[in-house]
């Protein structure tokens, strides 16, 4: 066993990983770079041998302030409400199911499988089925009839009503301030846990946000006129379908966490005279907090990317239920506005990165300390 032999194998090992590294470098980072560049041009019309003149951030300015791009702004608002409701519904349902199952239930496996099977389906199947269930004159609306009540008249995905309206002019400044506050909090948290990289990254982002606000950068994105946006009720049906599919995932995460809480710890709590409520409040819930955070991040980033479900349930080109994912597709591949589509895609990427990058840094960072 000579050292040179090992060295040769180390080189082989590196060479075996190299193709994957190159593929990821090209297909992920190279392509993102190309999309980023395209988003700074006026490319539209043809896909092959296109004319691409550099126009700077004009597409982004158009998206946030252009009169005709109101759909993009509503798509962001839709994603916002969708994300909050979807994540909360999944967490609450998942935690409830896990708590119910975590009590020496007979046939626990069967119940768990029933709650998890939707995870094995595609959003396309789920969407097809739920579109039928949410038919305005059939499906769920007819359920009350089975016990002798009047049928419901909810319009579900075709509803045009909008609630919680607000003026979009407030948006840029509010986002800037929220980002700043969030980053300050993250810096504080990372410093307390002595995670210098995390603190550094959050600090940079926070500094950029502050700079943007101070220099009046938010004014450039502020509309000259009031523009109302709000929560489109048509999304509720889609949120229900998405939560039906994904709640089992949160349940599985919580169950895995609860099983990890040692039986002795619970017994000790019982012996100390803790009630069941106290045991959950002081022992189990605190231990589940990291799982809740992971679940929020995974569900949140799924929700920011949601595409298939909207497509089947509400149509690919339905202004009321637009999300950036569907809007990017129709803008680029139906409207041939490739530069504008690329800009929407970059906004999506930035939103997802804001959620995922700190998470990756955090989990992998703490792993390396071990």
């Amino acid at each position: 066993m000579t050292r040179s032999f090992m060295r040769r194998d180390r080189i082989i090992a590196f060479l075996m990983l190299l193709p994957s590294m190159i593929l990821i470098a090209i297909f992920v980072y190279g392509f993102i770079g190309r999309t980023a560049y395209s988003s700074l041009t006026n490319w539209k019309g043809v896909m092959v041998d296109p004319v691409m003149d550099f126009i700077g951030l004009e597409n982004y300015r158009q998206l946030f302030t252009g009169l005709i791009n109101i759909r993009f702004r509503q798509s962001l608002v839709n994603t916002f409400f969708f994300t909050i409701l979807f994540v909360v519904l999944c967490l609450v349902t998942g935690l409830t199911l896990a708590m119910l199952l975590d009590r020496n239930i007979r046939a626990k496996g069967i119940f768990r499988n029933i709650f998890l099977y939707p995870m094995s389906l595609s959003f396309i199947v789920t969407g097809t089925v739920w579109r039928w269930l949410l038919n305005p004159v059939g499906g769920i609306n007819r359920l009350p009839e089975l016990i002798g009540l009047e049928p419901l008249t909810i319009k579900w995905v075709t509803d045009r009503a909008q609630i919680l309206k607000f003026n979009w002019q407030f948006f840029p400044r509010t986002v800037g301030i929220l980002l700043l506050v969030l980053m300050l909090f993250l810096v504080y948290r990372s410093l307390r846990k002595n995670k210098k990289i995390g603190a550094f990254i959050s600090g940079i982002v926070g500094l950029l946000a502050a700079l943007w606000l101070v220099t009046g950068g938010d004014q450039a994105l502020t509309l000259a006129y009031p523009e109302p946006h709000g929560f489109n009720l048509a999304l509720i049906g889609v949120i229900l379908a998405a939560s039906w599919q994904m709640s089992g995932y949160t349940m599985a995460m919580y169950l895995a966490g609860m099983t990890g809480i040692a039986e002795e710890l619970r017994e000790a709590a019982y012996i100390d005279g803790a009630t069941e409520f106290q045991m959950y409040r002081y022992i189990i819930f605190p231990m589940l907090a990291p799982i809740t955070l992971s679940a929020m991040i995974v569900l949140g980033h799924i929700s920011l990317k949601i595409f298939d479900l909207i497509w089947v349930m509400a149509g690919q080109d339905n202004a009321t239920t637009d999300v950036p994912g569907t809007l990017m597709f129709t803008t680029a591949f139906r409207g041939n506005q490739f530069a504008l589509g690329a800009a929407i895609a970059m906004v999506m990427l930035i939103l997802v990165a804001l959620v995922i990058v700190p998470y990756l840094v955090n989990t992998l960072g703490s792993e390396q300390e071990l």
Binding site: M6, D9, I12, A13, F14, S20, I24, F27, V28, G30, F31, I32, R34, S38, L97, L100, L101, R103, I105, N113, L116, Y117, P118, M119, S120, L121, S122, F123, I124, T128, V129, W130, W132, L133, N135, V137, G138, R142, L143, G248, A252, A256, S294, I297, V298, D308, W311, V312, F329, A332, F333, I344, A345, M348, V352, V357, Y359, L360, V361, T363
Partner: protein, 275 residues
């Protein structure tokens, strides 16, 4: 006290059965609708069982969807096998042959599984078009293998990290090199890892829609998700047909889940990075 506990227990089961019913209602609806003839599908009897069972929906659905189901199969099998092998090799390198910089390479790879694929879709379309892989199954296989690298590498890396490094060292002592250790020591104990990855990739690729609709629409090579969405999204559909189609589209992944659910859950939890 005992009666109170019993009532408690009863309530827990009641709630569980209620929740289970909610989760199963869509299946009930799919099955009864798919077994009704078009003229039996009336809004005031949507929840009622069919008056006479109409199995012809499935014949029709099979005729409509057989080509796309076959396309999906031609896509899923090679893509799953290739990405599992690649993931296994990558995981082996990243757990047992760490090189300087591996701690940077790995997170950069992982980021690839979280990106919204819209952000690479336009260049991907152009690239596949320029190399003659647009609109065909091999192109889609390539796409799924490449974008499957992060998750398959992650699952195998976590799996191999559990394997004691002494085994590798012992292998090296016996004169086995990189491939020798992989073939004789790691690969034979990799079965559970492969099961998790294969199930995961099979389900993901079978269910995938964005790449499929962008890269195969109107080419005759559409996988089942695209075909089903085309039918269900159309106007004036007879709902028995999309419902029967949904059953056909769901069955492969559902069967895998029912038979190998334990491993499915493992893949699911691995997706949240910690593994």
């Amino acid at each position: 006290m005992s009666t109170k506990k019993r009532i408690n227990r009863f309530l827990v089961y009641l709630l569980l059965i209620l929740m289970a019913a909610i989760f199963l209602v869509p299946i009930y609806m799919v099955i009864i609708t798919s077994l009704k003839s078009p003229d039996q599908i009336k809004m005031d009897t949507v929840w009622a069982l069919p008056t006479n069972w109409y199995f012809y929906s499935f014949v029709e659905a099979w005729e409509a969807f057989a080509p796309s189901l076959f396309n999906s199969l031609k896509l899923v099998i090679p893509a799953t096998v290739l990405s599992a092998l690649l993931g296994s090799l990558n995981g082996y390198v990243l757990s047992k042959w760490k090189f300087r910089g591996a701690n940077v390479v790995f997170p950069l790879m992982l980021f690839g599984m979280f990106i919204p694929y819209q952000s690479i879709l336009i260049p991907l379309f152009q690239f596949l078009n320029s190399v003659g892989l647009y609109g065909n199954i091999p192109g889609l296989v390539l796409v799924h293998v490449v974008y499957g690298i992060p998750i398959t590498t992650l699952i195998f890396r976590n799996y191999y990290t559990e394997v004691p490094t002494e085994i590798v060292e012992a292998g090296a002592m016996d004169g086995a090199g990189f491939f020798g250790i992989y073939r004789h020591l790691m690969f034979p104990i990799s079965l559970p890892g492969f099961v998790v990855v294969i199930i995961w990739q099979f389900t993901q690729i079978w269910n995938e829609f964005l790449f499929a609709v962008t890269l195969t629409s109107g080419t005759g090579n559409e996988p089942i998700t695209v075909a089903l969405s085309n039918l269900a999204g159309g106007r004036a559909v007879q709902w028995n047909l999309p419902m029967a189609g949904a059953v056909l589209a769901a069955l492969p992944t559902l069967i895998v889940y029912i038979v190998l659910g334990r491993y499915f859950i493992r893949g699911l939890l691995a997706g949240s990075v910690k593994g």
